[in-house]
Amino acid sequence: MRSKFLIIFLSFLLCCQVVLAADTNEQVDTHEYRLSNGIKLIVREDHRAPTVAHMVWYRAGSMDETNGRTGAAHVLEHMMFKGTDKVKAGEFSRLVAAVGGRENAFTSRDYTAYFQQVEKSKLGDVMKLEADRMSNLNFDDAEFSKEIQVIMEERRLRTEDNPSSLLNESLMATAYMSSPYRHPVIGWMNDLVNMKAVDARNWYESWYTPNNATVIISGDVDPLQTLQMVEKYYSGATVHALPVRKPQVEPEQKGIKQVQVKAPADSAQLVMAWKAPTLKPDMIDDPEPYALELLSAVLDGYDNARLNRVLVKQERVVNDINVGYDMISRGPELFMISANMAKGKTVSQAQESIRKALNDVIQNGVLESELKRIKVRILSEQIYKRDSIFGQAMEIGTIEMAGFSWRDIDPILERMQLITPAQVQAAAKKYLVDGGLTIATLDPQARKSADKGNQ
């Protein structure tokens, strides 16, 4: 187990001694190496089961795209399965399947990642394939033409026919005027329609280079043998310079922004989103992001948290409500509250109730007991997380891509435990203000359907 502090804090919070068998093992279970071509390798040992997760993360996501080519990062993610000089289209997945592997890939605003999960003796087989497509991708135009159709179907499925996604898309495009976070990861439909194979190839040539890649391997492996294997397969990948990343810092917002979306739905939806700070890798003592993280849990972190208790159960003004804030991010961040209206209630009634609940925090602060409850949950969830070998690789990859080190995971949790009610109140007061607020509402339209239910 990685650190003692989890256990110490849990003991403190639960007012008694916690004895954890696994904690007596003090050996360091995470190892970091750097290959001469710039690849960073992180190995997390977990010997509970004879399986391993192999991931490659490229620090290039939709935030690195340019106008007219939104969606390029995600399109390339699809094309990575469409053949290299040696492995023909579709063969990658067949070879991974043959060794019993589970595989997929995902693209976010901040990064693109590829993974396979296999029985441990098969690690070399999948690593060979993954290393090959780091440098030798070679798909033809016909494959691109079919795959871009698949991606447009994906956009229809996830966004065009999904009113909550449409609302979220408009919210982001309204909240940000300069930051590339204003574009959806999957890209605007018109950009997909006009995307060419050369756009995907250019993306690959720009960003898929070992000095922009982090390999993360978790599971039942020996770190030094794994390093040798990674050197064997990945050290041939050739380095080239990365494009210059412009900061594209979002200008300060100067007042409320509002946007309305009409889409097929039954109830209205409301999203309120405030510009909020993120944790910076060189300033992990900054209390504000932690305070906002805890505030989001005070509002929505468990069944009896404030917004659910008051708005859903007592006032019955919304049917459900969610708070989102993630202090770990490459780009800017929003503190976001989303709600579906209860029957017969309006978005202005919901907005009023949300504002009342937030004002209560700003005026009167939060209770020590609420914070303590949330801190316990954060620590217990951190222990539950280790049940998943894949989840551990995910956690490391996410924080690395945001510019932190995996070594920061524990210090960050530690600092979270020290935040006081006064700091939470101060952060709410500073950031949950109208000057940085964007409001998006879904105005429901009747969906034309012949299905009248089965009453």
């Binding site: 639960l14 399986t51 579709g90 019993g100 159709q149 029957k343 316990v376 049940d387 998943s388 012949a450």
Partner: protein, 445 residues
């Protein structure tokens, strides 16, 4: 030649696995508690314990006019209980769960209600989580006001869901495929509205009892501790109760003309959502392995199935296309599906139908069978590499009444499947002239 080599290779792997692990999943059968069977898998690496109680109280027992009753009965268990210290309200229950750093969740599927508890394994913490769960199982208060609120929330959720093509598709498909079996029914505004506190109390008394429950435990506890947990969980639960009327027989989808089997629902979404399927097998069926190995080839194998190749890779018609068997304890179906933009719906449906018909008629090729076995056998360790997955497996074995060595012999059963068995089994259970087809979308035909 290649196929022969692969089969030899995988056979030696199976032997290796069986030798290295005496029992892949050492399931201990604990003493029954109040007629409820109880099982344990000990894992010591993490200081956590996962507990599941399966209750034979699924939505198939909903009276048709009160469809939604079983879900409401389960959900409201966490919104108020009677304890020896008086009533605990929903806020107190939620706060206590949060304070313990535990999770307690309840869900209801067609066959069963499921309560899942995850706690740190330290005795004082897990005891409190188990006590709370036991009160939920035995003594829910079913408060009138909370029921009214939750009915309203549920109705609002249903009205929203009815605007979504995937929900409309699933509801109509279930209605078609389950026929006279009660899983054909789904909640309506009227049926949810009809549920009363009296109904909840009656349903709970009737179904939440030891002889309808199974307890599965995975994690950092000894056999003795696990037995204590099972006993504490079921402390207030009655052992048995009145006889429950048996359900209608699950009848095979009949041969019908296409017009009688196909339902088109106009819907102004950009994509048409398509489902196709029919009744199939239950989990204990001896043809289970030929069917799952065969389905890997047809539509189960991630990016490498025939449906994926025909619909997505070759024609770019859909993002997602799949087929699966969903075998339950008493009823099971086969289902295939995809989503595509409206003007391609007819073409996509045709490609899917042709691919399925060809597979049912001719089965898999030797190369495909070898590839399926390679994947399923080599990938077997990924099915049991954490506590959550172990719990899923133990629970499935217990619920379906399978032998406790089910996972120990799993790879050898896959290995034994032949081409002939796949073809015979697919032809025995599936037939294109029995397939129900539902298309939700516009401009089809």
């Amino acid at each position: 030649m290649k196929a022969v080599k692969q089969i030899f290779f995988t056979a030696s792997l199976v032997l290796g696995l069986l030798q290295s692990a005496q029992a892949i999943l050492p399931i201990e059968k604990l003493d029954s508690v109040k007629g409820a069977k109880a099982y344990l898998v000990q894992t010591k690496a993490l200081p956590i314990v996962d507990i599941e109680v399966s209750i034979d109280a699924g939505s198939r027992y909903d009276p048709i006019a009160k469809s939604g009753l079983s879900s409401m009965a389960a959900e409201l268990m966490s919104f108020g209980v009677k304890s020896s210290q008086g009533v605990l309200g929903e806020a107190q229950i939620a706060d206590e769960i949060a304070d313990l750093g535990a999770n307690i969740g309840v869900s209801v599927s067609g066959e069963r209600a499921t309560m899942r508890i995850r706690s740190l394994s330290r005795k004082d913490l897990r005891d409190r989580a188990v006590l709370l769960a036991s009160l939920m199982l035995s003594s829910p208060t079913y408060d009138e006001k909370i029921l009214e609120r939750e009915k309203q929330r549920s109705i609002t959720g249903l009205l929203e869901a009815q605007t979504k093509p995937e929900f409309v598709l699933e509801r109509r498909f279930n209605k078609a495929v389950y026929g006279n079996y009660p899983l054909a029914n789904s909640p309506s505004v009227k049926s949810i509205d009809a549920v009363t506190v009296g109904d909840l109390k009656k349903f709970h008394k009737q179904f939440y009892r030891g002889d309808r429950m199974i307890v599965s435990i995975v994690g950092d506890v000894t056999s003795a501790e696990a037995s204590e947990i099972a006993q504490a969980l079921l402390k207030g639960v009655p052992e048995s109760g009145d006889a429950i009327p048996s359900l209608p027989k699950f009848e095979r989808s009949p041969v019908e003309s296409l017009a009688d089997r196909e339902i088109n629902i106009p819907f102004d979404s950009q994509q048409a959502h398509i489902a196709m399927g029919m009744t199939a097998i239950t989990r204990e069926n001896s043809d289970y392995f030929p069917l799952i190995v065969g389905n890997y080839v047809l539509g189960g194998g991630g990016f490498v199935s025939r449906l994926m190749s025909e619909v997505r890779e070759q024609r770019g018609l859909a993002y997602s296309v799949f087929s699966y068997f969903a075998p339950g304890k008493d009823a099971g179906i086969f289902q295939a599906g995809l989503q595509t933009k409206n003007d391609q719906a007819t073409l996509a449906l045709e490609v899917m139908s042709t691919t399925m018909a060809k597979f049912i008629e001719n089965g898999a090729t030797p190369t495909e069978l070898a590839a399926a076995k390679d994947n399923l056998i080599n990938g077997f360790p990924l099915r049991i590499d954490n506590n959550r997955k172990l719990l899923d497996n133990v629970s499935s074995i217990a619920w379906n009444g399978l032998p406790l060595d089910t996972l120990d012999v799993w790879t050898s059963k896959v290995q034994a499947v032949t081409l002939e068995q796949i073809k015979t089994a697919f032809q025995k259970y599936l037939s294109m002239d029995r397939m129900k087809i539902v298309v939700v979308g516009g401009q089809n035909k």
